[in-house]
Amino acid sequence: MSQQTVDIATAGLRLTSTRLRRAISPVGDRAFLATVTGAAWLVLLVVAGLFVVLLIASLPAIKTVPISSIVSTAWDPTNGKYGVLSFVFGTLVTSAIALAIAGPIGVACALYLAELASRRLAGPLGMLVELLAAVPSVVYGLWGLFVLAPIMRTMVEPFLNKTLGFLPLFQGPFYGVGMLAGGVLLSIMVLPTVAAISRDVFLAVPNEQREAMLALGATKWEVLAKAVLPYARSGVIGALVLALGRALGEAMAVVMVIGNKPAIAASLFAPGYTMASVLANEFTEATGSQYVAMLIEIGLLLFVVSLVVNVIARTLVWGVASGSRSRAR
């Protein structure tokens, strides 16, 4: 950013903070300002409060369970073993699969809806995609258990085993349920998020950008690749981050198709376990303060993992966005 821009920005900030308060005299405006500021602070307080409450409730486990026990895959609460590595692994792998599938498909879908579809088709099709987001998670879980898992077991997994079986990722027995099924189900669930937000971002790209490229003699594909996509990059990454957030925390759908086995395996066909699933399965029946506190600690861990992933993604966005803007100048 040029020095001039920085000067204007800081001057504006100073203006907003002190002079604005003095400048606004009508009571209504002041009340509105107070309400809006209060709402913003309320959100911050809720998030901070959530973190603090989770921390306090998991203290019995943090104090009594040694780190060596937590950083292991042995999950046996009856005998005091609380290894969470398999849950973290499962969460990250299923979310990665979900994003790897839903990311490209969602962006391609959005590109089609925003740029290439005829106006008559774009409306209903866009509505259908957004409808996917309205389906409750539990319904996805049931559909996954009774429709997706058999398809995975009889068609998809044998096919992957035959063609890509040299990779350890696609070896081993197939049960239908497992990491791959969980990842695929999650990808269907986050697809509408990616598609809907990306479509809005593409529609927001100013027409001047497209027209300028066309004026230079670009083809339709070159307009999309060189004018629309780079301009919309930060927005699309934001959409992917939101989708990742949903995938990390999804419990009810994943619990039905993940196989619920606390173990780390090299194969994607193997059953696994995610942090949200173990909470969904074991929280209601957990007895004993250490067990319950350990489950809350897993909730805290999920909170922290989501936060860290979000921060990393946002940093990437800022880096990419400011980089692209300075390059565009």
Partner: protein, 349 residues
């Protein structure tokens, strides 16, 4: 006269508020009892409580099927009038409850069995399994259906070359407790390595899947050829599942039926909250994997009216209410157990 919109909306809001605050008092029954706990009891309770409310119109009962452990917790926290669990409270839970509101009375209210369901194309119905074979399957030592040990138990059956997949409950469950109680009793190795609990760490050597709820286990067993899992008797009968005949302590292979569960229960007439296990009973017709389900009540009821209503309700549930058990594939409590339950209920004041 035109009523101003503001006045009209204010009147509407006030009316809604009044109805919300006091309307419940108009329609509420004189005693509204709340309970929570075991999901095993839920089908039986929902039928029995409905019937009770038809006859005793001043009482309505609300039961939340949230799981045995959660039921005990809510009961101890006094958010519900009674808790229901497939396993009576252990010493830690009892200590917490005693600290909360004094002594607890635990009463058996339902009786059920755990069925071993399997999905093996080409296998006979009512596959014969010994306790050792069952333990070996769930430990992973027997990993294929064409294993010689299984063929020896089922001569003449053509068990296919199919890997075994065991299915267990991923959520904490009383069914798991009863099943692991049985396995611990018939195998000291299982007892020391895995143990008995509502949630256990299943042996890693076995190819095992976890599923949520009886429906989840049944679904996994149905969808995976070569799968074997454990479900509640009521559920298996309702869904027409193929299940195994287990060899009981007397050496006979017994199929799980209402009669065989009842025979097992009759072998142990005096069950109480500290000595409640009825797995692996003697008797030629006893099914070896059964268990009671229990209800927790405070010995000293905080509210006399509700206390009376509760005692009346459960006196009915353990006596006349048991006739509704058969319709939902539960075994009615044996008469001596009913007597014991009524005696325990009589100590509540």
């Amino acid at each position: 006269m035109r009523i101003r919109p503001l006045v009209l909306s204010a009147v509407a809001v006030a009316a809604v508020a009044l109805i919300a605050l006091f309307g419940t008092a108009i329609v509420r029954a004189d005693a509204q009892l709340v309970g929570a706990g075991s999901s095993f009891d839920y089908p039986f309770f929902s039928r029995a409580f409905y019937q009770y409310s038809q006859v005793h119109t001043d009482v309505s009962v609300d039961y939340q099927s949230i799981g045995s452990g959660a039921g005990i917790q809510q009961f101890t926290a006094k958010t519900v009038d009674f808790g229901a669990s497939d396993v009576p409270m252990n010493s830690k839970e009892l200590a917490a409850a005693n600290a909360s509101n004094g002594a607890v009375v635990q009463v058996p209210v339902a009786l059920g069995g755990v069925v071993i369901a399997y999905n093996v194309p080409g296998a006979p119905a009512n596959l014969h399994l010994t306790p050792d074979a069952l333990v070996a399957i769930f430990e992973g030592k027997i990993s294929n259906w064409n294993d010689k040990a299984l063929a020896a138990l089922n001569p003449g059956s053509n068990l296919p070359n199919l890997p075994i997949v065991t299915v267990h409950r991923a959520d904490g469950s009383g069914t798991t407790y009863i099943f692991t109680d049985y396995l611990s009793r018939v195998s000291s190795a299982w007892n020391s390595s895995v143990g008995t609990s509502k949630t256990v760490s299943w042996p890693a050597a076995a190819a095992s899947l976890g599923a949520k709820g009886n429906e989840g286990v049944a679904g996994q067993v149905r969808n995976n050829p070569g799968a074997i899992g454990y479900v509640e008797l009521a559920y298996a009968l309702e869904n027409g599942m193929t299940y195994a005949a287990i060899q009981n302590k007397s050496g006979r292979f017994v199929s799980p039926t209402l009669d065989s569960v009842r025979a097992a229960a009759a072998q142990k007439p005096n069950v109480n909250p500290t000595d409640f296990s009825i797995v692996d009973q003697q008797g030629a017709s006893s099914y070896p994997i059964c268990g009671y389900s229990w209800v927790m009540l405070w010995k000293t009821q905080p509210d006399a009216g509700r206390g009376h209503a509760l005692v009346d309700l459960f006196n009915w549930v353990v006596s006349s209410g048991q006739t509704y058990a058969k319709n939902v594939h539960y075994v009615p409590l044996p008469s001596n157990v009913q007597n014991g339950a009524r005696q325990a209920l009589a100590t509540i004041h």
